[in-house]
Symmetry: D2
Subunit: 342 residues, 4 copies
Amino acid sequence: MIKAGIVGGTGYTGVELLRLLAQHPQVELAAITSRKEAGLAVAELFPSLRGRVRLAFTTPEEAPLERCDVVFFATPNGVAMQQARQLLAAGVRVIDLAADFRLQDVAEWQRWYGMEHACPELIAEAVYGLPEVNRERIRSARLIANPGCYPTAVQLGFLPLIEAGVVELDSLVADCKSGVSGAGRKAETHILYAEAADSLKAYAVPGHRHWPEIRQGLARAAGREVGLTFVPHLTPMIRGIHATLYARLSAEVDVQALFERRYAGEACVDVLPPGSHPDTRSVRASNLCRIAVHRPQGGRTVVVLSVIDNLVKGAAGQAVQNMNLMFGLEETLGLTQLPVSP
Amino acid sequence: MIKAGIVGGTGYTGVELLRLLAQHPQVELAAITSRKEAGLAVAELFPSLRGRVRLAFTTPEEAPLERCDVVFFATPNGVAMQQARQLLAAGVRVIDLAADFRLQDVAEWQRWYGMEHACPELIAEAVYGLPEVNRERIRSARLIANPGCYPTAVQLGFLPLIEAGVVELDSLVADCKSGVSGAGRKAETHILYAEAADSLKAYAVPGHRHWPEIRQGLARAAGREVGLTFVPHLTPMIRGIHATLYARLSAEVDVQALFERRYAGEACVDVLPPGSHPDTRSVRASNLCRIAVHRPQGGRTVVVLSVIDNLVKGAAGQAVQNMNLMFGLEETLGLTQLPVSP
Amino acid sequence: MIKAGIVGGTGYTGVELLRLLAQHPQVELAAITSRKEAGLAVAELFPSLRGRVRLAFTTPEEAPLERCDVVFFATPNGVAMQQARQLLAAGVRVIDLAADFRLQDVAEWQRWYGMEHACPELIAEAVYGLPEVNRERIRSARLIANPGCYPTAVQLGFLPLIEAGVVELDSLVADCKSGVSGAGRKAETHILYAEAADSLKAYAVPGHRHWPEIRQGLARAAGREVGLTFVPHLTPMIRGIHATLYARLSAEVDVQALFERRYAGEACVDVLPPGSHPDTRSVRASNLCRIAVHRPQGGRTVVVLSVIDNLVKGAAGQAVQNMNLMFGLEETLGLTQLPVSP
Amino acid sequence: MIKAGIVGGTGYTGVELLRLLAQHPQVELAAITSRKEAGLAVAELFPSLRGRVRLAFTTPEEAPLERCDVVFFATPNGVAMQQARQLLAAGVRVIDLAADFRLQDVAEWQRWYGMEHACPELIAEAVYGLPEVNRERIRSARLIANPGCYPTAVQLGFLPLIEAGVVELDSLVADCKSGVSGAGRKAETHILYAEAADSLKAYAVPGHRHWPEIRQGLARAAGREVGLTFVPHLTPMIRGIHATLYARLSAEVDVQALFERRYAGEACVDVLPPGSHPDTRSVRASNLCRIAVHRPQGGRTVVVLSVIDNLVKGAAGQAVQNMNLMFGLEETLGLTQLPVSP
């Protein structure tokens, strides 16, 4: 059994990790920390876990994190980088669900996240945890930067086109719609029910932190910089991301075959038949990314529709997928629950 | 492996049965029928099942139902009673998720359901599939009348009080709120998104078919007729039933202890600590009923809060629980997925 | 033109007051205060008011409240009682949308609201602003206690029965469902979209502040104390209250005729035809209360269904209705917008 | 008073027209037809109109349409073209809220709408009812083709850029999100609450009927054909369209100033300050289009955010705006209700 610890388990990625790990046949939950809720039973904060998760929150100091095999950080940005060095030194693998190790360019990270990085020397070692791209490196990694939710949906949608070199790289557009849980479990006015329900809005059009992360991933695939316009939208649903991607073809190609080939062996990516329109509920509560690809009116513009559950393939599920790889387990172990629909 | 067939798998209880049975370690899906969708792959109608359910819908005639070990009817009322006799004769166990065998009084059934009963002789044999009441009879049953969604939540909430003989039986009130999936997957105007969203209404106040079913169950426990006012409400959520129950105490009793004792050994009923208020999402997509009990201001009125997922403990999950009992399996086999929250 | 001021205009009752007063033909908005948002243009906080409300928030000190004809308090409980004395002394009428003057029993108020009352001498003078009960007293009032949202829906539903003396008074039940805006525009976790959407829960079953308010109103009508069980529920909709009321008849009576007679002249109460089930959206954004009355199975239990928009007839609209009465205007002036449906 | 008739008033654009016309100071509702609901009181089908609309539905044959001053068609496509000739001959002005007269190219219309046009000779006369473009022609029109909902939001968002000739015309992208009421009040499975809630999907990516309509409008402004990719999405909200538009600048220009100048005199278009993100609820139930314009990272891609209420500025409200112009009334008469928020 893998002994797993969670730092910062009171948010939505935390409770989703708990849901997945508590059902994982090879994991034993060893500790979960929350400075604010220390002493409280996890199942009291999250009644959905009653009878199944018997841990209580502890302070980080009291938690036996260094005796874990793996520690997940489901914390705000800037926390994992404070503790990663020590845990790695103790032989613990670290999976950061926040952004501390996602950008390889430290200066850019500091610009977007507005703080100094606490352990820049670990950034080069950290592996970006997108298994469909970095599977082999993940297997041997000590430190995983678990991808952001938007970056997961967008990269999985664009990569086949970019890797094949068949689209113009200067005018990519990613129009993304996210459920409100993507904003976290924070007491903020704009994500109140009465604000976010029955309404939709774009946000952060001038610049969003997932923009450099996506560009980094696409640039690596392209071998050069890419031009990307990324517009996220707050959508009245709990879970789900729908990325609608636009690119101009630079070569004639059978895009459907291209996508099917690229993801042929991937258990967590499902390329739909031609003409499909995936809805986010078809992946709700599952670790799947479903993708459809279109060429409206047979023109030069390719439209890719890519949906994930932001809390699963976009966060906690992908983290477990990475853990499975790191510990030599079946990649989808504990991740095969069917989507919940309706 | 249990060979299972589903008759009428295009509704919400059908797809939920598919979700549960496809993940059940001891079940092999042998057939699923739909006259209207015959020939269509199940996963085309329900993309959430892509890659996991490879069956196609067939007509009832072509389906190898008589070679199944168990057949579930996820059909409109009035269908199971047409086919039950023949299946039972062939040695197949039958679980009807509709109402054909729920009422022991044939005349009353015919009055509420507006049709003649096709096999009244089977009604006496049919076992009402509420395991928390009829566990032993279910184990040996050939024919199960799977309870309605409201009746499950309401009976589980009232039974401890009634069995203990501590409440007045003439003025019970069950104020119930159901998610819209409870109305089925039918193309009807009143359950359109734009009609049902951001609104709430009572319905069927003059009389609802679940009223006689609940009364029958409560009367059996009481040993006499009970007076019950039942008001269902259509609520803007997909899944979930919240039953708010009101009864007047006729004896002094520790109601919290009463409930805890009654459900001490029950895996699918969770009595919450004093002062709790269960929300429906704490049971979403799970086979649990969570219950809290209150005596506001220490008065004579007991308020019971009982929540279930109408499609799971209120339908497909309870059907699988019954199947497990009938086939000598662990009662919760295939039913242990944690609720999905948020 | 009536010069109107609003104290504390950053919540949902505040913005709803602004919506109504900005469209009222006889009102001039003179000032709106918010200590926290002082200096901010109202339309910047509430973009729905752009181009129509040109005021900015000011501190209470700077606001010309004493030169207003009427001041509305859309503040948390405990604010209006600090300022009412001085405003009344300056000849300003005061309408408190919070609870400071709702309970005539000071001791009970202090118990439920957990603070000392700052001007108990004004409580007796304050008129409870339910026009359907206190119309004449409102016309000449200086100080109005605007009713709570639940109390409005529940009292309008019970009053015809109680005034007529035809129901048992010891076992009234009010099962109420409220949209999330009823909890206010406060940054609290439990009313986040991802918490409140697609779920329903009861709350405050042991005791809610609206319970003594409702009992006070019903007792006044009954001429004696009443026994009331009141259970509010948080419902996944933005606006709307649905009160489902249960009472036992103590006399034979035509309840439909009773309700129609009681509200025959009332512009803001609409008694539906027999057999109706009002939905909350049929009053959305309007100052109406729609009521239907049932006797299921012709029994002794009366079920009353009473719906309002909690922000309009349950708060800001009723406040404007009171203002109209106080200033000798047509009672529904500025309140005749049709409900928004769907 | 203008005598107004409505043909086909049982859908969402019909009931919204009723809401607006019933409150219009210069309109008298003379007739409303529905073959299916003939004889039924309008307020019985739409309880939100109780007490305010006293008409009953009649058959088209019985309705005094030829004695109206204006007749609105809130019908499926293909109905208005059957009756327009006769009504115009009788001197009645006609406003078609469906698509019969929207496309000037008859062959293209027939291709997209799959039927033969019944009165092609009227197409050239019909005026496309977008007042911000065709105001003068609308004033003297006999026959108005009221624009589609998506086309309204998209054209208003793109027009300033295209009219100024500052964007590349071959790669325009319109990513649009619509509330479910946009699909109409039809009993269809895919728009059931349990299907459409808590989920989001693109649809009609290969081709949507609003695509040629938008292209026609943009081409007229550009003086040449334009290349447009249009992807609509079904979004879990009742009302609202959010169009997110992408264009590549071909010239250096102050886009904010450009938009402000273009819509300076427009009462129904509100250009937000730089850096804004309009939400659809800021226009809910109002006839406004709010627009914000961005240049992320100061690059060459312009992002325009354009929001409307699909039932008001996207349908019934714009129809009333057109009627006002046709009859020489103040353009916004009866259309000044403030948005309902929250």
